[in-house]
């Protein structure tokens, strides 16, 4: 590795076999140490969880079409919204981007063969599966109606299947921690020659910041859930006031994890948007270093603001003041990102392919989600809005409008590289319209519901809220329909999609330099990075060529001209 070798675009693997086909059979998947295959297995699992959580969401919205008991009784409703929250948070959003897409692309974008600890990586996946199974056992055999937050003393006294559910979340936490450990070590130690920190793709920066939170915050959730289990079995009396415990302490513990967890969810979404915006504008992200550092500072500030979930819970005025002040700091790095994304569009060459549509959607929705966060940071206003639909709408704008749009954007963006197949751009755009419109109808109406005073987690409500609830439910079904179109489009692509060229989007990103299908070792020859991942002005025409290498004969073209 002495001479500076330029990356070899579109080189074929020596055997010609991609990672999907070079080994066959169930065993080659179940025992694989290949981060790409593990990433795909994660992808399948999280999509399944998304489907399950989505069905729960539609059940919730169906019940809320009309006031009074329509579809299910209060008790059933409570279980359904608990499962919606728990499944979406623990089984879908947290692992969605890091564990599935991150696993797949992090090593490729670092120009290395695999993550630092491939065996640990497979272990994380099986820990995830175990956690998911335990959680599903809790759903099937039990009666989990605590809300995904497991607030004490309700959870301490609720059905014993809550122990199963918390065990599930506890186990899933370790899957997340180990993935984080793996990624940090990989980023530090496995970068290809020439890939110094200032050239690191912003997706990697985002994954890195996410991993730091996963390693430092998740253990606190683990111990909190562990203590809750001890509360229910040994009655240790830390959280249950009947035994001298303090329920507010549980909230402190819980949010010390779960607020940073919000950044575990959103940072990867932002990370993908960086890649997509750069590719489809053919430009380096404006203010690269500021964007990278804003991820890191979000990760760090995220640790200091957990108290803003508890402004009405009975903290001292002093603590309330400090948490409110710190909370506003979060707005700054978030704002920096949005401003830089918009500035990137300036003087670019913007192509509106479906991944770009979702990323632009992300910027719009995240802007709304972020600004409504300011309402909740202002103490006097938060008192009115806390625990109402305003909060529900706010975090759905950030989590769905942010993370899910980012995830879907990444899925569209990398789909050709992962599967080797193209999809129908037309169907993808139709799905986007449904998803975007449906999402806004669903959740914008909830902002108004919340500021009017509609509390969360109600299966029944006053008549005056009915029109808005109905609008919201209608939007939810449009949203669900959009996702169905998307599902159909991806399945169709797998079955009968055209063969994907190595670089369909003319991207300068490192992951597009390898062949499609991807070589089992990611690159046929270990690459040396001679330019940054967004240096479009340094790319040769050949590197940015969107078609198949065999169709491309630069010399002939030159001769013709």
């Amino acid at each position: 590795m002495t001479a500076e070798v330029a990356p070899q675009p579109h080189a074929h693997a020596p055997t010609g076999e991609g990672y999907l086909t070079h080994e066959r059979g169930l065993k080659s998947w179940l025992f694989t140490l290949d981060h790409k295959r593990i990433g795909l297995m994660y992808l399948g699992s999280v999509l399944l969880a998304f489907l399950l959580g989505g069905i729960m969401a539609l059940l919730v919205r169906a019940e809320l079409l009309f006031p009074g008991e329509t579809l299910m009784e209060a008790d059933t409703y409570n279980q359904v919204f608990t499962l919606h929250g728990a499944i979406m948070v623990f089984l879908f959003i947290i692992p969605s981007i890091p564990a599935a897409l991150g696993n797949f692309f992090l090593p490729i974008m670092l120009g290395t063969k695999d993550v630092a600890f491939p065996r640990l990586n497979l272990g994380s996946f099986y820990i995830y599966c175990l956690g998911a199974i335990v959680a599903i056992v809790a759903i099937v055999i039990g009666h989990v109606d605590t809300g995904w937050t497991f607030y004490t003393p309700y959870s301490a006294r609720a059905d014993s299947s809550v122990i199963w559910m918390t065990s599930g979340a506890f186990i899933l936490g370790f899957s997340s921690i180990l993935t984080g450990v793996n990624f940090i070590a990989t980023v530090h130690k496995m970068r290809a020659p020439g890939l110094h920190w200032k050239r690191l793709p912003l997706f990697i920066w985002g994954m890195y910041a996410t991993s730091v939170i996963q390693v430092l915050a998740t253990p606190v959730l683990a111990i909190t859930l562990f203590l809750l289990m001890m509360e229910k079995t040994l009655t240790v009396g830390i959280f249950d006031p009947a035994l001298g415990g303090d329920p507010v302490l549980f909230q402190h513990f819980f949010w010390f994890y779960s607020h940073p967890a919000v950044y575990i969810m959103i940072l990867p979404g932002m990370a993908i948007v960086n890649e997509v915006i750069a590719t489809f504008s053919h430009r380096k992200i404006f203010g690269y270093m500021f964007v990278a550092m804003s991820s890191i500072s979000l990760a760090l500030v995220g640790f200091l603001v957990w108290g803003h979930h508890m402004f009405t819970a009975g903290m001292s005025e002093y603590a309330t003041m400090v948490f409110s002040a710190l909370t506003f700091l979060v707005a700054i790095p978030s704002g920096v990102k949005v401003f830089n994304w918009v500035a990137t569009l300036y003087q670019g060459s913007i192509s509106f392919k479906s991944p770009m549509l979702y990323s632009l959607g992300f910027i719009a929705l995240f802007t709304i989600g972020g600004l409504t966060g300011l309402f909740l940071g202002i103490l006097s206003v938060d008192i009115h809005l806390h625990d109402t639909y305003f909060v529900v709408a706010h975090f759905h704008y950030v989590m769905v409008g942010g993370t899910v749009f980012g995830f879907v954007s990444g899925l569209h963006y990398w789909w050709p590289k992962m599967t080797g197949k193209m999809y129908s751009e037309k169907l993808a755009r139709v799905a986007f319209v449904f998803v975007f419109v449906g999402f806004n109808v669903t959740f914008f109406s909830q902002f108004v519901l919340g500021s009017q005073g509609m509390p969360r987690r109600y299966y029944d409500y006053l008549d005056q809220f009915q029109p808005l609830h109905m609008t919201s439910s209608g939007g939810a079904f449009i949203l669900g329909f959009g996702f169905l179109i998307m599902l159909f489009m991806f399945v169709k692509s797998l079955v009968s999609g055209e063969k994907a060229p190595p670089n369909p989007w003319s991207s300068a990103g490192y992951e597009w330099m390898t062949t499609t299908p991807i070589h089992p070792h990611n690159f046929a020859e270990p690459p040396v990075m001679t330019r940054g991942p967004y240096d479009y002005h340094l790319c040769t025409e050949e590197e940015l060529f969107p078609g198949f290498p065999e169709d491309f004969k630069p010399s002939e073209k030159a001769a013709k001209a």
Binding site: P153, R283, F328, V338, Q347, I350, L360, D460, L462
Partner: protein
């Protein structure tokens, strides 16, 4: 009470009924317009760039430049706005957190899934019914006997969690009386009011301000909880609602002196006390005391109790007369009947009129 002069809400916020509300709303709309401004600027820039720099033949992206000044600018400029927002929000919060010295106090007890209100002098109001005087600061001292609840009155812009094992407080000053309107459904009520809980006697409901429970507190297992339960008791988190009635100072003083008046459905009847007593039993006692002489219940059955000879755990005995009943309600632990030493009945501080009604009801059970 002038029904045509009630406060009105806006598209986003419910009507203002407290002294705190205008300030909160002003802040709300300030940040709302700031957000609208940001959104418009960002979206406009995005859309303009998207159109101007759409990919087309002959257009090549320019390499990204760098502007430290711009980066520093949009990192720190918002900080000024944020400091203003924080300061305004915090001062508003402090005003809402510290009750004026001349506040009257009301004890609030949250329990799955009802609110109980105890006024000065130990006057217990009807379950889920809170009366407060207009133009007087009221401080609520709240506790919970089971799980977390949260006391939320949108019209006052106040909310506070009710936590087992500690007291939490909240204050407000209502600016206007609630009108006296009878109703069948929420649609009959002016904006911001709801058609309150059905009283235990099943009489007509009235328009009142809603009190919500904003912290999730569950539902009973496997029991179908109809929207608003008959008998005046609520049965799950989403129906844990209270009626808030703002009345004049004179009406409040009378209420404190005499306790809650007999329910409308009993008034004018010959057996007004028995009728009222039955309703109090329905609200407060039915969970432990049955009245049919047959049902097994954790505490003594009321049928045939009055006038009966009572054997106590300490060996003594007494006849169940008016004084015995009164003492058993006000100080239940003072004389424990044999066989019930594991029942921990809490003391109930009813007004004299309410006690009379309970006793009359018990006597009527013997007939």
């Amino acid at each position: 009470m002038d029904e045509n002069n009630l406060p009105e809400g806006t598209l986003q916020l419910p009507p203002q009924w407290s002294t705190l509300a205008p300030e909160v709303d002003e802040m709300y709309y300030f940040i709302y317009w700031v957000s609208v401004a940001f959104t418009v600027v960002i979206f406009a820039a995005m859309i303009y760039f998207m159109w101007k720099y759409r990919r087309r033949p002959g257009l090549k992206a320019k390499p990204t430049g760098h502007s430290t000044a711009l980066e520093i600018g949009w990192t720190f400029a918002p900080l000024i706005l944020l400091v203003v927002l924080f300061h305004q929000g915090f001062t508003g919060y402090v005003r809402g957190a510290v009750a004026p010295e001349d506040s009257i106090e009301v004890r609030v007890r949250g329990m799955q899934w009802n609110w109980e209100f105890e006024h000065r002098g130990g006057v217990i109001d009807d379950l889920n019914y809170l009366r407060v005087p207009v133009n007087t600061p009221v401080r609520l001292i709240m506790s919970s006997s089971d799980v977390l609840h949260s006391f939320f009155v949108p019209a006052f812009r106040v909310k506070r969690d009710v936590v087992p094992g500690m007291y939490s407080t909240l204050w407000f000053e209502a600016t206007q009386e609630t009108p006296d309107i009878q109703c069948e459904s929420d649609a009959d009520c002016p904006e911001g009011l709801w058609c309150g809980n059905t009283p235990p006697g099943g009489e007509a409901r009235e328009c009142v301000l809603p009190i919500f429970c904003a912290e999730y507190c569950g539902a009973p297992r496997g029991i179908t909880a109809s929207a608003f339960d008959e008998g005046g008791r609520n049965t799950n988190h989403s129906t844990m609602m209270g009626d808030l009635k703002v009345i004049t100072q004179a009406e409040y003083d009378e209420f404190i002196e005499l306790g809650p008046p007999p329910p409308a459905s009993c008034q004018g009847r010959d057996d007004i006390n028995e009728c009222w007593g039955e309703q109090i039993h329905q609200s407060y006692c039915v969970a432990c005391h049955s009245v049919d002489g047959a049902t097994q219940a954790p505490a003594p059955n009321w049928k045939g109790l009055f006038g009966n000879q009572r054997q106590f755990v300490d060996g003594s005995s007494a006849t169940a007369d008016e004084n015995y009943i009164r003492q058993s309600i006000l100080q239940p632990q003072s004389q424990i009947v044999q066989g019930y030493n594991n029942v921990n009945m809490p003391p109930f501080r009813f007004s004299d009129r309410q006690l009379d009604a309970i006793i009359a009801y018990m006597r009527s059970l013997n007939e």
